[in-house]
Symmetry: C2
Subunit: 332 residues, 2 copies
């Protein structure tokens, strides 16, 4: 039996298990130029929430009754393309389906002797590249500067903080649990950590953690956490808008303090970006990330759940703060 | 009798005549290295409102009981510095005072045969340079793009629109009067104009005027006008935060839609800037502006009021939409 997971209904607010359905896929056949592949690691990412709504965004919405799609590491079962053979391991944007046919054009072959194939969905994949280009290209960190990262224990945040440390910055991470913060402090050597759920006043916590103000804010979360951070920016600050996970499940237009006067006063920059715009520079990013990883200057952190049927749960968990680092589902 | 205008009380909300007082200045004497000058043209600028509050900002607040200060074109009555002589015309940051002593170090000598000495406070001065660097350096206009300018009939806005036309952009100006808009359309050849006071829905007006969306937004105004413009930005849009005049008189933190999700979706940039940061590049800007002016590709527009005692009124008028182009007071 070959299972797939479809979008049964569009979430209103926080996604629930009822928005998804596991169904049996129709039989899989491959034509010339296609491969039949079996999913090994399936990525769950916050941006997918956007595709579950039908609002116009930078990627087309998922269709109702059709399978969810996302990044997958898969094994080739059958190849109808000369560049691939049975047993190859590949990275591709695929359906949430155990076994499927895919055009060879959409596929990247991976080194299957690499023991960490899942890294291609995390630190060497989209989240790692997001951290790399967002921080270096927009944030332009300078040694000695203070950077604040919201969603610091997420797939992107853990990489941003580590690269910022390599660049000599003072790193302040915000997450929603003491356990995550202990990991950020103890393992990743972040200079300061703040638990936004338990700190009394975010503004005071930021003031205390950033006594010289905030030079770079790498924002994955948005909302009131951002209000507190932005109130403390320095002249010439750079605010990188990478995600707004706290707002993805809002059902009406979120309101907050108008920021323009602050950006003006501080000559600050705020820039949204989407990693796919850096597509042509991915090889540069992967090479540097792999080098730092090999030198032990970067650590990978993953939250792996086993079982295809766990995909909706793992996805919903992203919005409940359940993962530390990259969240993945391993298919057995 | 030598008059000066002091800040009598800090405005709460819109400044009023009562916040100012005309007093008699103490006698003026110049030491070595100083000049005695007589004001000819005194600039009133929206940014001065910030200095009337005691909140920390990018320039120090004016002191209560002390004269207001700003850009002035003045004539030298007496020189104690070898580089200047009686009859020279100079540009300097000066007190709102008819006759005063000033250190030669703070002074730029102007070509007194130029019939348009007031231009050095407008199109060839701070507002012109603000338009030049803000638009070209941050906005990076590309021929065929659509730019929206709020406060389009103000000292900065009229220059931004004209430079954008030189660069081949489609220019949409927003102002608060049909008379100003007629000037923008008929004289400056803006492609579309919107009167924000009389249009029913700003959002619909922007949609109609910008059928291909907004690539650049040069914002002098902020508030709900900006909400409407930003709702229509294109991918890769640049939002230049030059001023927020609609909010300068607010007495509490203004609230509005959170913009980060839009900036993210559109990979858009929002950047605040202060013209003094471009100080080293002023000569480049003045040279280019003067060239365009000489070629008839730029027009200067000024609203000149006569009489030293009119300074508070001219300043307050900035917030009442009274000026078209650069607002100045000519001292007789």
């Amino acid at each position: 039996m070959n299972r797939q997971i479809i979008l049964k209904s569009r979430p209103v607010g926080l996604p629930t298990a009822e928005n998804f359905e596991i169904v049996v896929a129709s039989s899989v056949t491959a034509s010339n130029g296609e491969l039949i592949v079996k999913a090994k690691f399936v990525s769950v990412d916050p941006y997918m929430r956007g595709r579950m709504s039908d609002a116009k965004s930078y990627v087309a919405p998922f269709e109702l009754g059709k399978p969810i799609e996302g990044g997958v590491v898969a094994e080739v079962l059958e190849s109808h393309h000369p560049d691939f053979k049975e047993g190859d391991v590949v990275l591709a944007p695929l359906k949430w389906q155990e076994i499927q046919a895919v055009s060879a054009e959409k596929i990247t072959k991976l080194d299957k002797n690499n023991t960490h194939l899942s890294y291609y969905l995390g630190i060497l994949g989209m989240p790692g590249l997001t951290a790399y280009f967002g921080l270096l290209d927009i944030g332009k960190p300078v040694s000695g500067e203070t950077i604040v990262i919201s969603g610091a224990a997420g797939a992107v945040g853990v990489v941003v903080g580590q690269i910022a440390r390599i660049k000599g910055c003072r790193v302040v991470g915000i997450s929603g649990s003491d356990e995550k913060n202990a990991y950020l402090s103890d393992e990743l050597k972040f200079d300061e950590v703040i638990n936004y759920r338990t700190t009394g006043s975010m503004r005071k916590a930021i003031e205390k953690a950033c006594q010289d103000g905030v030079d770079i804010y790498f924002d994955n979360v948005g909302g009131e956490i951002s209000d507190a951070v932005i109130s403390q920016i320095n002249q010439g600050a750079r605010i990188i808008i990478c995600g707004q996970i706290s707002l993805y499940n809002e059902t009406k237009m979120p309101v907050g303090p108008r920021l323009q006067a602050m950006l003006l006063k501080k000559r600050a920059l705020m820039q949204g970006f989407i990693i796919s715009d850096y597509y042509n520079r991915f090889p540069e990013g992967v090479k540097q990330l792999a080098t730092w990883l090999g030198e032990g200057r970067l650590n990978s952190q993953e939250t792996i759940v086993k079982g295809f049927e766990k995909l909706p749960e793992a996805f919903i968990g992203l919005f409940e703060g359940k993962n530390t680092g990259k969240s993945l589902v391993e298919i057995e």
